[in-house]
Amino acid sequence: MISRRDFLQVSMAASAMYGASGFGNWARLAAQQSLTQDQLLQFDTFGNVSLIHVTDIHAQLMPIYFREPSINIGVGGNKGAVPHITGADFRRAYGIEDGSPSHYALSAGDFESLAKGYGKVGGLDRVSTVVNAIRADRPDAILLDGGDTWHGSYTCYHTEGQDMVNAMNHLKPDAMTFHWEFTLGSDRVAEIVEGLPFAALGQNIFDAEWDEPAELFKPYKFFERGGVKVAVIGQAFPYMPIANPRWMFPEYSFGIRDENMQAMVDEVRSMGAECVVCLSHNGFDVDKKMAGKVTGIDVILSGHTHDALPEPVLVGETIIVASGSNGKFVSRVDLDIRDGRMMGFRHKLIPIFSDVIAPDPAMTAVINEQRAPYADQLAEVIGHTDSTLYRRGNFNGSWDDLICDALISEREADIAMSPGVRWGPSLLPGDPITHEDIWNVTSMSYGEAYRSEMTGEFIKVILEDVADNIFNPDPYYQQGGDMVRIGGMGYRIDVSKPQGERITEMTLLKTGEAIDPAKTYIVAGWASVNEGTEGPQIWDVVESHIRKQGTVTLDPNNSVTVVGT
């Protein structure tokens, strides 16, 4: 949170810097049932440069429901810091009224009833309306896409990202950085990037063989806006070859490379940049740490960890903006750049309430064009749900419970593992589950569902390894994402312990017996990063399971005991 005291400190450092966030008014408006598009978009144009940030859209072209997490634990220096506060604590911290539109957009709690009241969120045609409105205020606003755009839906999978490329080209971003895009394979990425009508940026995208900057991606791009030279430096997801299959893009190496980031900041400053913006896919805590180490960045537009924050976080003289995921939010940041410095900013996180913001008909047409060839497959109803299906949360989500159930029953396994990804929209009780809905939470280029034998000891090694990628107190050793979801097995985790000591009390749920380190268990999972993984595609496994269920009902999952928070 930016406190008054922070601003005073900043103004001392930067002589006349001040900031404002356009957040906080719509709670009352909503109470009067009068939320309008004009109010959502209201913004007094400020300064001389405008940035528009979208990130982690995950190919969600259409309005969706998206439930924010109830559990998002921070560790080390980020314990109890945003974005690691959730639900009522989050609302208290930002002064958000219970039951308000901001409650629904930004935090968990009462999700089902608020979703019925406020409706769906997102839709790229609504995003387009917002972008057009900002451009009407400030025609030369810089639109930046933080990546995870060409991944995550039925149409995106079947067009190898082309549906998103076509839609985004219509939205006309000025630059983009990357993460899941690389899981299309490096040949396909090169094919798309070579034809992009905007900059493909990543100062940390290197040639793996020579450890030199990759030729296809530029580290930064200059924009002349309102008489100001703005440099945008890209930062791709640092841990692509670890979190995703390295064999799909063997030519590339990534990493945080903050020393090179500093070199790029110094380079653009020496070339006359008066404003330096980092378009980042680091994840929020990594961005916070990087902002403390690299000097000279004015704004970090943060992606990857899917956090939506109604105010920027200040680190030194850098503001960090988090703009959510799945098309649910657009951030507008206006900057006052004078004498080569950021003297002030005005920020607004604009929630895309699909029923409030009118779709842009031109973008609707583009979206329909992408979806038309697949209309029948997308709409096919596979079953229904009596439970809310959602994904976000450190340890489990009901979508993953369902996927794990499917793996155990369809693959005749003792234990199931589902990756702790943060993408995938939600469904409400009573909703049909369509083919499209299943793909929205499973689609990927390495979705094979493996079935293998693992010893109890090895299962613990996996859990400890993944836990350390989330709960290592040093953000630079965190990969983002959540804990691998486990079906058929319970465990206790102490997030405050070091690797190797966090996981205890592993229990096979069907027998209630403790997991024996020496015994072998049948484990079914999906999304292995290993080349040559064999098995049916996860979406087929889940579809088959849901068809047999007819209507899905899930009990609350209490199989993970969490301590040390």
């Binding site: 982690d56 995870d148 993460h179 899941w180 793996a208 450890d211 997801f237 640092p238 841990y239 692509m240 070859p241 670890i242 979190a243 995703n244 390295r246 190496s253 990534f254 990493g255 945080i256 020393e259 994840g283 990857h304 960890t305 899917h306 990756p419 702790g420 990804v421 943060r422 993408w423 090694v461 996996i462 390894d465 993944v466 350390d468 990628n469 290592n472 040093d474 630079y476 050793y477 990969q479 983002g480 994402g481 959540d482 691998v484 690797q499 999304a527 292995s528 990063v529």
Partner: protein, 138 residues
Amino acid sequence: MDFTRRETLALGAGAALMTILPLRANAAVDDLIAEFTGGAEVGEGGLTLTAPEIAENGNTVPISVSAPGAASIMVLAAGNPTPPVATFNFGPLAASQDASTRIRLAGTQDVIAVAKMADGSFVRASQTVKVTIGGCGG
């Protein structure tokens, strides 16, 4: 650990000589440092060790060391069965005192560099490099 000259690229211009330390399995890292420094006090600063926070491939982890004015830089992989990686010696005509190589790491561990400066003093830098089985992404 096997480490041949062919697998090692010493890229720093004029990184004149590179000596591979003899194998000393299980030698304590502190002993190795003491042997290198002759027991002298080891300070900090002036030596930059660049290594990834998380290795993309534990079998070939790019690292580089740089210490302007150094006479030699020793690199150790503290958690390997055989910790010594390399010692880079820089002659008086060396244009710069930096070197890059790729090393194999048996698991998550600290990579340590110790530089002997021209004035005979020693400085040290270290970084934890995590070797993970990986898996999930946001």
